[in-house]
Symmetry: D2
Subunit: 244 residues, 4 copies
């Protein structure tokens, strides 16, 4: 049984009435609800808990971590970011949602600015499947329509992904690489763009399906962590002259 | 004319007689010499200069930076690393050589541990071309033989490269992805594994040719830096009901 | 000096008055004109010439072949397709434009159906740059606007590209991976979507610039063709017991 | 339950005593045995059966096809190759083993010559894992040692893979990209190099494990096949002036 921890900044819901109406128990609990329904073992963690709810113990028993953050990226402590980073390199999966693109952990894993164009104009987004055989697109039709979503537009300053699963079309004239996979160390990462807090995106069945699929894709692969460092020869070495 | 800055830690050559014999003027000056011969405008910079020789001014007039470091990665100041990082994302090319794989700048750009297996046993390496149409392999035969090189072995904990140009075969039974390209932000990066300080690797004509090719491949592409941040709509937005 | 051959089916222009008005000398001559202006040595070839104008001699002195075809893909002889295919694998560059996506040569190189969605509704396309450091995007702004273009929409049934340079946004709600690079054998391939015959696309300065850049990117890399087949050992083989 | 069809040319085993001793029931039955032990539903098919054992009916109920061929690639009928090709593009997985690299079906899917260097000198191969988080490497250590294997050496004339899982080190001084994944159409493909008929490779537990993992990775993703062809607009089109 996949063990998921859903991390949420959990500020918009507490500070803004209109967001709380959409997610009365917080974005994390809404996400947790459909992961549980999919048969996963799910915990949650939020910014204002001690250690942001991400103790070593919690991370050690987490197969896949989901990350939603936005207005308070700077309040996440570097120590916790390093702890999560280390766990990803050791094999923990990571699903980064929406505005998590500028979280410390995603930026650290990508090595780039992770910047993009944005606009909150309540416009339509149509998310097209680009990779029809990918398990993250399982059960999804040709596209997902969101009547209102914040626009995220290219150029998105991230490395070329290992796989591009989705591209978003926005009513206002932009496009965005909306679903991307990356392998970093022994861990797998899925970035998925939808989920502005002001729209009920995480109630959409197809968005839920993609996140469930993404968690499954990110599950750790059971094998021993690679051995790094000094390594004895496996075959005899003659030793040449010091010549080129 | 491509403007190159060759950065070298420059410690082994000063501290160890046997290394100084190979590179009397330092690795940086040996590398500079063949880049100059290839028609480039070349400066050098070393760790113990003020600001490690990498002032903003120097970086601003650098098209491609070459990085060789090994024993003193930890002495490179974070401020300079951030300055170089910013320049790469803005378009400066970066060629990282050999033990530079564990430099702060490379690790920051990769987002991973950049760890590997290693062994200094004076063994033979044969570097095979994997990508025959790539300009970095221009003028190179099927492989390059190094009679003695430090072994670097897989698993190399870096992201999957955009392009794999070379794979190294080692006498002692290991393999290594010896030539890799990455795009990060608006900059291009080439990692090239050969160059242990104790062997005269940078005198080898084919190694020189690959580095010259790599510098050319990393040259900035002349175009305006992308505009990030808030962005007005390019097309009219009807505005939908707040429904999914 | 890069030697380019521009191949055009050259039927629409002869059969349809409205197309001939746009390209009185044929699409091939319009493309040739701006390649010549960019300093290239350019020849043309068309379907109804003997051997479609693509004799072995012509191909042997071609660095980069440009391909525009649409209504008569089936009339291209398999023998000529095989001849072009062989030249690409041996190093000749290939730029495939617009409806060339269903040409025999492109399908043979891709190994897939190369099918897509399409619609000719005179709608707007906005072609976004996805890869800001790529030389094919040199001199291009954030996007190229085409007031009217045929819609090509995802899913585009081609392999994941080596590099995705452009993504097109279409007014009617579709997206398309509009600029893609591939390496096949020792040759380089650039697919570029714009160019429906009914609109004066190849008069657009940015479209011309991309095609010029694409030709340069596709130029053969000077090195010996790899040696395939039986190969003697480069190192002594002890010969083990026939055990695993 | 995954339904696998193991296709084998089945000539070496019938014609050569020393091969028959290794695989008395044919390579296909040895491969089938460990797939069955892994809980899969397995059928076999061979060259000399009517339609090579690959009727439309057989293919329609096959989730993943395994292909082993060598001396008689030319005897496989183009009709059957086209039938298999169509099924792969429609979603059937394909695992191509060893000398299947020159099979008609693999060449058609790759679009290249699929040529390589080779030598049968009974030398040692060490297959290194390059992609530690990939499910195809599940349960495998850092490398797999084969005491004797035919050498396959780079350059391997195939497209850059979507993922490189393994690289082989050969005693005689060569390297080879020994495990590669590709997506083509709606199907997934895994190429795995080990399996020269003269050595008992398919009895090796790790080789078996990789093939089982590979079959699982290649399983079809349940979703509707994309719709290609003419497509109505999803959003209103204003229709611009015929200007650029």
């Amino acid at each position: 049984m996949t063990r998921v921890t859903v991390w949420n900044e959990y500020r918009h819901e507490l500070q803004e009435e209109r967001i709380r109406e959409i997610y009365p128990a917080g974005i994390h609990n809404q996400i947790a609800s459909f992961l549980i329904a999919a048969g996963m073992e799910v915990g949650t963690a939020t910014l204002d808990e001690p250690e942001h709810g991400l103790t070593q113990e919690v991370l050690d028993r987490t197969d896949v971590l989901i990350w939603w953050g936005h207005m308070a990226h700077g309040e996440v402590s570097d120590e916790i970011v390093n702890r999560v980073h280390d766990r990803v390199l050791k094999g923990m999966g990571l699903v980064v949602l929406h505005s998590g693109h500028m979280s410390k952990i995603f930026m650290k894993l990508m090595g780039t600015s992770c910047d993009l164009k944005w606009r909150d104009a309540g416009e339509k987004e149509r998310i097209w499947v680009m990779n029809p055989s990918h398990p993250i697109a399982e059960g999804i039709g040709e596209y997902i329509d969101l009547e209102r979503e914040e626009m995220y537009g290219t150029h998105f300053d991230v490395p070329a992904p290992d796989e591009q699963i989705f591209v978003g079309w926005f009513e206002g004239g932009n496009v965005f690489p909306s679903g991307l996979t990356y392998r970093r160390g022994s861990g797998k990462i899925f970035y998925f763009q939808p989920g502005h807090e002001a729209y009920p995106i995480y109630y959409h069945p197809d968005i839920q399906r993609v996140i469930v699929n993404g968690v499954r894709w990110c599950e750790p692969t059971p094998r021993a962590y690679p051995v790094y460092g000094h390594s004895e020869a496996l075959e005899p070495i003659k030793g040449g002259a010091v010549l080129l």
